[in-house]
Symmetry: C2
Subunit: 350 residues, 2 copies
Amino acid sequence: MESNWLTQPCAALNESSRDAALARQGQLTKPPGALGQLEAIAVQLAALQAAAQPQVERVHISVFAADHGVAAEGVSAFPQAVTAEMVRNFARGGAAISVMAKQLNATLEVINLGTVSVVEPLANVRDERINAGTANFAQGPAMTEAQLAQALQAGRAAVLRAKQNGAHLFIGGEMGIANTTAASAIACALLQTAPALLAGPGTGLDSNGVAHKARVIEQALAKHQLTQSDPLSVLRHVGGFEIAGLCGAYIAAAQQGLPVLVDGFISTVAALAAVRINPDVRNWLLFGHTSAEPGHQRVLAALDAQPVLQLGMRLGEGSGAAMAVHILQLACALHNGMATFAEAGVSEKD
Amino acid sequence: MESNWLTQPCAALNESSRDAALARQGQLTKPPGALGQLEAIAVQLAALQAAAQPQVERVHISVFAADHGVAAEGVSAFPQAVTAEMVRNFARGGAAISVMAKQLNATLEVINLGTVSVVEPLANVRDERINAGTANFAQGPAMTEAQLAQALQAGRAAVLRAKQNGAHLFIGGEMGIANTTAASAIACALLQTAPALLAGPGTGLDSNGVAHKARVIEQALAKHQLTQSDPLSVLRHVGGFEIAGLCGAYIAAAQQGLPVLVDGFISTVAALAAVRINPDVRNWLLFGHTSAEPGHQRVLAALDAQPVLQLGMRLGEGSGAAMAVHILQLACALHNGMATFAEAGVSEKD
């Protein structure tokens, strides 16, 4: 399968929309800068959407699910069966992201890229299984080149569906037991950082569990001899189908001109890989929430990213990004709806 | 006017609702603790509302507006006329809090406790002017005992209206040129802290302006000889009508059993005064946003308060609290709507 699309150019930002939005922020009835980050968000969205009145009403959430061979190394607090069980829970509306999508009136689709067990057909779940989980990267490459290309392409296809449906914003989520281990391994390789600094408790390991997880990653990285200059090779050797799906989605979103709200640790690692593959992707990324997973801050710093929220969440599924949607919506509503000093007859600064 | 009501008991929290909510959080399909602060918010609201399913659908926002005699000392970047002009802007829907209230489908009322100029009758603006602004506290007490009692009572009346309308949550906002000076002076007196550590730029003073503001406060505090053990005397000597209104509202909300979402610097100073007058008020307060106004962090620390959001806002009007409403709503939706492990057939932690 071809992956030449990955390095195709990203959409350009509209600088005149940015300038106009910046000027408007200075005229609204508030002290200059008094809306803090909300001003920057509105200005960025105006530039991304080439719009005087940016908006975030139609939100598309794609949750990519897959299993990980490395789960066999005992790196997760939960059994592997949970990945498929949670796919059912997403579909039936019981998971956190299901509840949030309903509250936000967002489109939610789940893309099964490779649970170990087959999941029966379910509404809003796309069966795009590449394999019964990745291979155990403690022993060999997590996937083949063809599998990697297929996962990246699945992400792109999700974005094309979102674009087709007129989405203003794309959120990617993930589910996969052991995927903080894969994400930590990718981040270690791309940032040339020691596993002890990036591995964290994930769904709830104790300190011995975290130390074991770091050792598993360290040994795998020693085995695969990855270089940070080849992010696709890193993804293939120690990644996961759902992480590659997110990576492909972010690249495609930037190429299609669809703003992205990135979720937590795993999504941010996928974003880091995307930016390493195609640097202009960075322009199209906003960040929703700083995870309690300790490695997140290092990956955010590498992307010079400041998330909107810090609520101590560490759930994945796209939930941290979904929490921030309303902040973006209010930033747009304020930008578009507030009166200017002239319109309101309010005196300006002395 | 009598103020004996201020020290009447606050409503009790429902501990069995708290325990039930805490137990439910442990059964929902997520790793324990993975929703971070959202879990604590849902549990607190369950205890405050004595409800298995807490909710924050009906939000009442009361914005108290008044002028300050101390504006004559040149402590604000904006002219005094702005207070009345902004009252009109609130009413016409052009101010930040107007836009946000509409987006949140919240009730918004503006209570004019004392603009210098008379404002013509406007929809959603209550004319409860106590005087044409407070007296200049650089020269004498800001208000008389009767005026203070009237302002506190106006806050209580706003809460009784909210309660009457079935509100689930009360937000108080404020508008008043020079009111960060009054709020800083109150905080200095109640926390026995030097003005240089609490005075900030407000609507946009430069460093010389901030230093001048700190000197004005320092001289006023030296003149009035206030003690932290008499918060009502502090409010009367260096406070403002709108700050006293907020203080009265918070006390009444706690007495009425109505949860409060506190806004930024000025509102938090009013909350500090309320808690000093009636300590159990603290139980009923949630905090929306950490202001960019530098003194806010000290006042929050004195109340052991961690706001939900940090967005660099510094606007007042109730806007920081309004930004956090949706976070509370999603915390409730997740608590009420997620499936348990048993309901969803999802395996628990190994």
